[in-house]
Symmetry: C2
Subunit: 260 residues, 2 copies
């Protein structure tokens, strides 16, 4: 039936550094009888990619700088975690007790520069950084899946971010391949013929949010979701090239942001 | 198949003030052979509800106050639109040429206090305000659908909001009935037994985003989407009472917001 359909990918093992994520995903998909189709969008939780890429850091190996100690004093967070936040950030945006909001080196504004204390193992003494280059990770995953399955889905690497003004976190896209993450409807008309002047839709973020509903945050361990029907539903064009396919398109440049 | 499935509701006429939205939706669902089921979430574009509730305002009937003229001078927007923005707002949050971000009287921070120049007809000379009480609208729609179909879906009234830091608008929930809009996973454990300490997920916003992918913004005119499978996917509890079912739960109180 027409519409958008999100299927959980189940049965993946806990991913370890060095694992071949494409192989694990292809095998899990086979195991549940779910075949990728042209036009599918595969949304993958960043933790899977980050763990496979070895982005785990044991806090005991981190030596906090004076700046990290100062951030730790202000925020009440572990100085070693603060050191990693500073290394992963362009800028610290807001600090209050229990909270550090940073502009990640890739531009995303989020808590702790995206560093995750859960999903890392090690009882909170090991943390998980975002992938070094999430767009590159998405491109590789897309290519490797194509080699293994004959289908190149669009790939979105998803994380969960809090937001100004609104309670609760939502899934967002931090890396993308095979599709433009922002859809422009500028110039199209509404039902009454009024021409839309400012409608950019962050479809990759919406797909990440939709998939996060299925993934959950905690122990279910559903690390990936196949979204089917998006391109048909929106008559949107899957971009074959890679020019526009970067999550940087979702980041508002600092000089145009009214809230930084 | 397991997962989350979003079905467009098609064939609705353009909704006019005084129309019975539940009747129009029930009839459209019958027409396409789509039966509501217990556990469904019906996501409805606010424009449908707002139009039925007669929230259209002809700009020629609006007399701008001095404050509205001042906001118009600063923003470059129509003084009559600025008058309506001020009437619909608690506070103006940011202004720059071409942009007014307001805290709507219901707490949402968004452009133009949610006032829509498209989807109103009248070639931009008529505008559409948000529903007077979107939670109340959602509750009435849920109740009326129950009377007509025997099933009471959870109901989300959706709008599309821009965001600080990120490009592009996404669907968000501005009114809700029959479910809690925020899901807490605090106290649950990740795959490794690490207890989550700060995971609130704005599931109603994620559902609105997922539905917006299917609705689109422009001329398709898909005003509602049936989302099926959410409660099963997340083992979440559909709240029968109405206590927690308010979109106010999605609004961060101003005194706890670091970006106002």
């Amino acid at each position: 039936m027409t519409g958008l359909h999100l299927y959980p990918v189940v049965g993946l093992p806990v991913v370890e550094p060095g694992d071949d994520v494409a192989e694990l995903l292809a095998s899990a998909l086979r195991g549940q009888g779910l075949q990728l189709r042209q036009g599918d969008v595969l949304v993958v939780a960043h933790k899977v990619v980050s763990r496979a890429e070895g982005r785990l850091v044991a806090l005991e190996d981190v030596e906090p700088s004076p700046a990290a100690r100062s951030l730790a004093a202000e925020s009440g967070k572990d100085p070693r975690l603060c050191e990693l936040i500073l290394r992963e950030s362009q800028a610290i945006v807001r600090v209050r007790p229990g909270l550090v909001i940073a502009r990640h080196r890739l531009g995303f504004v989020c808590a702790n520069a995206g560093i995750d204390r859960s999903n890392a193992g090690g009882e909170g003494e090991t943390v998980l950084l975002l992938p070094e280059d999430p767009d590159g990770s998405a491109r590789r995953l897309r290519y490797d899946l194509y080699r293994k399955t004959g289908v190149a889905p669009a790939v979105i690497i998803a994380d969960s971010h809090g937001r100004p003004f609104r309670e609760g976190a939502v899934g967002v896209c931090i890396g993308v391949a095979g599709m433009g993450p922002v859809l422009s409807e500028v110039g199209r008309q509404d039902l009454f013929g009024y021409t839309l002047r400012s409608t950019l839709e962050a479809v990759a973020d919406e797909l990440a949010s939709a998939a996060t509903l299925v993934m959950g945050q905690a122990d279910e361990g559903i690390p990936a979701v196949v979204a089917r029907g998006f391109f048909e539903a929106r008559r949107a064009i899957q971009i074959a090239g890679e020019g526009e396919a970067t999550a940087a398109r979702l980041v508002r440049p600092a000089e145009r942001d009214l809230f930084l």
